[in-house]
Amino acid sequence: MSAIEKLPAEDIPDNGLLRFLTCGSVDDGKSTLIGRLLYDSKTILADTLHAIQRSSARRGLDIVDLSLLTDGLQAEREQGITIDVAYRYFTTGTRKYIIADAPGHEQYTRNMVTAASTADLAIILIDARKGVLTQTRRHSYVAHLLGIPHIVVAVNKMDLVDYAQETFDRIRSDYLDFANGLGIADVRFIPLSALHGDMIVERGERLHWYDGPTLFEMLEGAPAIHSEHDEKFRFPVQYVCRPQDSANPELHDYRGFLGRVESGELHVGDRVTVLPSGLESRVRDIQVLGQSLPRAVAEQSVSILLDDEIDISRGDMIVRSGELPQVSKNIDAMLCWLSESPLDPRRKYLLRHTTRDSKAMLAAIAFRVDINSMQQQPAERLLMNDIARVSFRLAQPIFADPYAESRGTGAFIIIDESTNNTVAAGMIV
């Protein structure tokens, strides 16, 4: 029985949840890799496998096409391509995983950006026969831009290069050459054969020269948190709970500020400042469904009660006093344009940051990044899949941190009010 077949049980420690992204194309063996992760963790069940066998046969294939597992939409099956991000789940008994499976092609950069926005780790697949390609650079750049803290470069199809260590070492050195230029800090390399299962769960016998962890060991050991440095406490208020009409008179003065801790930690008794008013108070209680908690940690949804009656509503932010974010109506950001209609510099858009909305106008495009060459180019407007350094002017101030310090308070989206579509994703510099 391999490690991943263990059943969830009380006595096995819960190592939380890890969200990771796989980047690459079907040609790199990405579907085979995902298929193997799901299959070896017993996530593909018999009827699903039979359905895929039937579909493969209907398409005249003599092998089972595992990409059919991840291509869920009719159009994708018709065209034999992956259009949209698919989310897959498996568990090892100690940890739950969410895979965001992003299509590899350049025109789907927006999908990779979407998938990367919630990932804690990225697996970048390289075909051992082809080495570092333009696509590899593009994937690495986007993963880095979206602040994914851990990158695993999986050199796949080692079986097709006779499991040669020289090939692996050459790819590793090529990759490091450009990764260092980008500033990617935590990158690990692993040789694989997804087809034969070498170095995924089992080590196999033909990669004896590699003494690092298997892919599963890397996943199991990766920290299930986005950032390992101490973050400042940020609590955007989503909603206010005021049960005045309750039959219980004790609740007449109840005011719970509802939200999710975007970063940092808060303890009962802490001094807090409320933005934009700047008023200060003290944390009287932290609650979930009537239970008091001594503290609230990152990603936890809670209700905060304060000592003083302060007027707070959705869009406000509670922070620890002395740890204030930037309050600003001018922002500089890296922007990914996601919409088929180009960015129109003359128009006003809606910028959504945490629980706060503001009208926004483009002030300038500093440069556009060619994501294949990493070159900075001048640009007048932005098209779908473009990535650029821009600045915006806002009607209302936002309470922001640099994205590199805090994902939750460094990220924003742009909405086109004429269609209500989400048209861009931004990361504050």
Binding site: P8, L73, E299, Q300, F412, N421
Partner: protein, 306 residues
């Protein structure tokens, strides 16, 4: 790793999933003017009610509950539905496919046709009647291939249609619930939960369930490789042998298309143990209407289904 890093608390996987679902429900409350939560009495929507309690208590839910009743639901489930809504003190709206049939907006091809897909019509009628701008549902991405690609906040046009090729990008935890009048957002707070997560959550939270989720004896016939309950609306066909077997339901829906599995599991812990070693997916085992074609769920969703 430094000691400071080790001291940092991270959430268990159930806590993380619950926290995400609470955040999503509060976003609906904060962004939408007239939302509703779909509650069927099934296990996924039972979990959603607990999430809603954690999101909004001691306040009331900022939305009513809605059930689209096919008229072919198990009594145990509809009784449970009514009891749970009453215990919570929240408003329950029930709209019936049979009313749509009486109005002529639902036309069955045959009297015994499964009514699941016709729920779309009744749901759209209810959305129009009450002017709901968002419907919170308990669908999960692990249920089906088309669902794996659906957003958590999923936009539907005024015909209730889902366009899989034209979905709004959804990044970080910044959700876009904006819609124009007549349009609608479907919201799935437990998108990232799997069947086993749901059972583990039910166990941890000690949630009550309709009795038919647990092993019980029931008359059945074997048909098309599956077990079919013999009921008033699904009688045995001539020549079929009625057997009485120990079974439980993995999903509860319309009687005509929801089949049980053989099981001795009398409590949640035994169900978790069985689920962990099963070889058949939840829908594969028990949802006869999903097996018709490869894309049947995608097709129904395009037509306004959840």
């Amino acid at each position: 790793m430094s000691t400071a890093k080790l001291a940092r608390v991270t959430l268990s996987h159930l806590d993380w999933l619950e926290s995400e679902a609470i955040h999503i429900m509060r976003e609906v409350a904060g962004q939408c003017s007239n939302p509703v939560l779909l509650f069927s009495g099934g296990k996924d929507s039972i979990c959603m009610l607990r999430v809603a309690e954690k999101a909004f208590r001691p306040g009331r839910f900022p939305f009513p509950l809605l059930h689209i009743d096919t008229g072919h639901n198990y009594r145990e489930v509809t009784d449970f539905r009514d009891r749970r809504a009453a215990e919570l003190g929240e408003r329950l709206i029930v709209r019936s496919v049979e009313d749509s049939m009486a109005r002529g907006t639902v036309v069955l091809k045959s009297a015994d046709e499964p009514r699941n897909k016709h729920q779309s019509v009744t749901l759209l009628e209810a959305i129009e009647e009450f002017g709901f701008d968002a419907c919170i549902g308990g669908a999960r991405r692990d249920e089906e291939k088309a669902r794996a690609k659906e957003r958590i906040f999923s936009f539907r046009d005024e015909f209730g249609q889902w366009d899989p090729k034209n979905q709004r990008p959804e990044l970080w935890d910044l959700y876009n619930a904006r819609s124009f009048k007549g349009e609608n957002i479907r919201v799935f707070p437990i998108s990232n939960w799997t069947e086993i997560d749901v059972w583990q959550y039910i166990e941890r939270e000690k949630l009550a369930l309709p009795s038919i989720y647990f092993a019980h004896r029931r008359p059945l016939v074997r048909r098309g490789g599956g077990l079919l309950p013999v009921t008033e609306v699904t009688p045995a066909r001539p020549g079929e042998t009625v057997e009485t077997l120990q079974v439980r339901f993995r999903t509860v829906g319309d009687i005509t298309c929801t089949a049980p599995v053989e099981s001795d599991a009398e409590d949640v812990a035994s169900i978790i143990a069985e689920t962990a070693v099963t070889t058949i997916t939840e829908r594969g085992a028990t949802r006869l209407d999903d097996q018709t074609s490869e894309a049947s769920m995608e097709q129904r969703k395009k037509e306004g289904y959840f």
